[in-house]
Amino acid sequence: MALSTSRRINHILKPLSAAVSSTRRLSSDSTATITVETSLPFTGHNIDPPSRSIDTSPKELLTFFKDMTEMRRMEIAADSLYKAKLIRGFCHLYDGQEAVGVGMEAAITRKDCIITAYRDHCIFLGRGGTLLESFAELMGRKDGCSRGKGGSMHFYKKEGGFYGGHGIVGAQVPLGVGLAFAQKYSKEEYVTFAMYGDGAANQGQLFEALNMAALWDLPAILVCENNHYGMGTAEWRAAKSPAYYKRGDYVPGLKVDGMDVFAVKQACKFAKEHALKNGPIILEMDTYRYHGHSMSDPGSTYRTRDEISGVRQERDPIERVRKLILAHDIATEKELKEIEKETRKVVDEAIAKAKESPMPDPSELFTNVYVKGFGVEELGDQESHSRTILSFIRVAPGVKLTGLMMLSDQCI
């Protein structure tokens, strides 16, 4: 993940690591091979699972730590911004699930495509999006990744192969299969990761998509992020078989510990190779969201606090990497704390910048509905009315377009 933070933190860490490199400790940007084992074995469906042992390096371990820390920090900050009413609309946070986004990214290239649902902030970061673009989008500002027009659920990044950010549960999966068809047709060796939740796994269109992908041997990898709840509904209440990796029947599947970034990376690498040769595969990522479903859900009415704290204590993806870093003597506890502190700073700076970003121009209300000049008036059927609105907005005295709340109906 080519994030500015990563670079900055690397920079900070360098002298620290250099200072100790004369000792037996590995340098933090060393690419020396370290072999780790996944927390659990993979379980395959109609396929022999990959090996549990994975090669990594001090550099990769630290990158994973930084990237996941940054994602978590961003989500926690988004929570506060929402409570401060600077973010409106619907907002779904990803903390707890970071290993899925980061592990997947580590196994693929930006020419591979990712498409997901509304829990999309961190996937966007993983694809090379910036904190500023994220916060600005969350606050509906001009510098947002969708120019402030999409909000939390609609992050996109074309150059990063990120097809977004979809609000209708399950709808993105057939789209992903279409992307995979285009990839296969172009004979480039790339794949599409189509992500969906355990709740979405019960949507009919998922099975339609799966059949098409299998029928035409498309390089589509269906990634079920099983965080065990679809809103307030536990997986077993909604699915006769919550073994989502098996639900493709004729499509092979793999169950993966989605809290272990190395297991995710290994599975995604394996899946990509498989998909390019044989067609679709399902990866079920066993994961967990710490926050409630969205900001209106405290997340504690349908699951126990013990359950949440149990996962935090025993399976947290960041803690797992922290332990590995310490065990391999790659950085000290203090250095990792320093990274966390720096991440906080970088996130706060991005928020401050995002707050300064203006609201989109009111004319953006009418843009991108159709392609300009293709037979339809830019301002739609009520053109004269729309023009009036626009001119009114522009001249209305005392109207500062810097926040939603200021758009009171007295100016319209």
């Binding site: 399950g170 509904t233 609201m359 009111p362 059927d381 758009l407 009171s408 109906d409």
Partner: protein
């Protein structure tokens, strides 16, 4: 739209229910008479009124069922609170996340002479079920030569703007369904209306799509009879009598229109405000009679203007009242854009937009 204007709508809704002489957002005199015998009443909000109706529906007919995403826990808007406890998980249950399946299942259940009351969590999510509604539910009776039907089907779904819902928690898709002979489309404006109209919809021998104004779930509070009562479908209601212009609307938009009427009155314009309540089949006669009196018509809805139900009302009334019209029919509606995130207040047919249109129509 800021929080303050929300509160104003709430107040209006509750004030007018107390002040029954002005009829505002309470029922017609006729239905009031009917429902007034059904004392006692209780001051409740719209989601509680829906909840009462569902309790009564389940209680009064053992062959009725309530289901949908998370309804077993009370639903995201609390409309189904307590139902599973009272009537059991056999009759009130959660479904998986699969709208097409939910509605198809409901049609089958209704075809066996049951009352299937399905919830679609947001109207924005009704589209996966569109095929089932349009092709299965609406045509079942017709194509089977009346051997089969799914008249016991009622689909409840929250619609409309709430201030910051963005693209997929704000839409008003009613007009898609108004193009489908064989189903009814009903939209209440207040708690008392919601309870009576929902009970009628559930008991109506035709499939009904019942859109609930989610903005009003908590905000609108009104005296609602605790007993079982029904309000007639396909009967519009004159909420405010006037002589200069007729305004037609439904659901949450009526309270905005009411505000515009009140402002217009200050400037000496007398508005007649009509709540259509049932969009198909709709009460053309009430609207026609009003327009023949006032000579002017304005329709307002949140859905985009093009192809909105306002277009149908406009065309029909022009056919019926052409020689009586003194100005073109005005439509003050959502803009022809997707429902926007940050520019919701510009998109919506606000009070001032309506007021402008009232004036320009009257001064045409």
């Amino acid at each position: 739209m800021g929080g303050s204007s929300f509160r104003r709508i709430g107040k209006l809704a509750s004030i007018s229910s107390k002040n029954q002489s002005c009829r505002g957002f309470s029922s017609t005199v006729e239905t009031l008479k009917k429902t007034d015998q059904l004392t006692p009443t209780k001051s409740v909000n719209l989601f509680s009124a829906i909840n009462q109706a569902l309790h009564i529906a389940l209680d009064s007919d053992p062959r009725s069922y309530v289901f949908g995403e998370d309804v077993g826990f009370g639903g995201v808007f609390r409309c189904t609170t307590g139902l599973a406890d009272r009537f059991g998980k056999q009759r009130v249950f959660n479904t998986p996340l699969c709208e097409q399946g939910i509605v198809g299942f409901a049609i089958g259940l209704a075809a066996m002479d049951n009352r299937a009351i399905a919830e679609i969590q947001f109207a924005d999510y009704i589209f996966p079920a569109f095929d089932q509604i349009v092709n299965e539910a609406a045509k079942f009776r017709y194509r089977s030569g009346n051997q089969f039907n799914c008249g016991g089907l009622t689909i409840r779904t929250p619609y409309g703007a709430v201030g910051h819902g963005g693209h997929y928690h704000s839409q008003s898709p009613e007009s898609f369904f108004c193009h489908v002979p064989g189903i009814k489309v009903v939209i209440p404006r207040s708690p008392r209306q919601a309870k009576g109209l929902l009970l009628s919809s559930i008991r109506d021998p035709n499939p009904v799509v019942f859109f609930e104004p989610k903005l009003l779930y908590r905000m609108a509070v009104e005296e609602v009879p605790e007993d079982d009562y029904m309000l007639p479908l396909s009967e519009a209601e004159v909420l405010r009598e006037g002589t200069d212009i007729t305004l037609v609307g439904w659901g949450a938009q009526l309270s905005i229109m009411e505000q515009a009427c009140a402002e217009a009155a200050k400037e000496g314009i007398s508005c007649e405000l009509i709540d259509l309540k049932t969009l198909i089949p709709w009460d053309k006669e009430t609207v026609e009679a009003s327009v023949k009196k006032t000579g002017r018509l304005l329709i307002s809805h949140e859905a985009p203007v093009t192809g909105g139900f306002g277009a149908e009302i406009s065309a029909s009334i022009v056919e019926r009242c052409f020689t009586r019209l003194e100005a073109p029919v005005a439509r003050v509606c959502g803009l022809d854009t997707p429902f926007p995130l940050v520019f919701e207040p510009f998109y919506l047919p606000t009070k001032n937009k309506i007021l402008d249109a009232i004036k320009s129509t009257v001064n045409y």
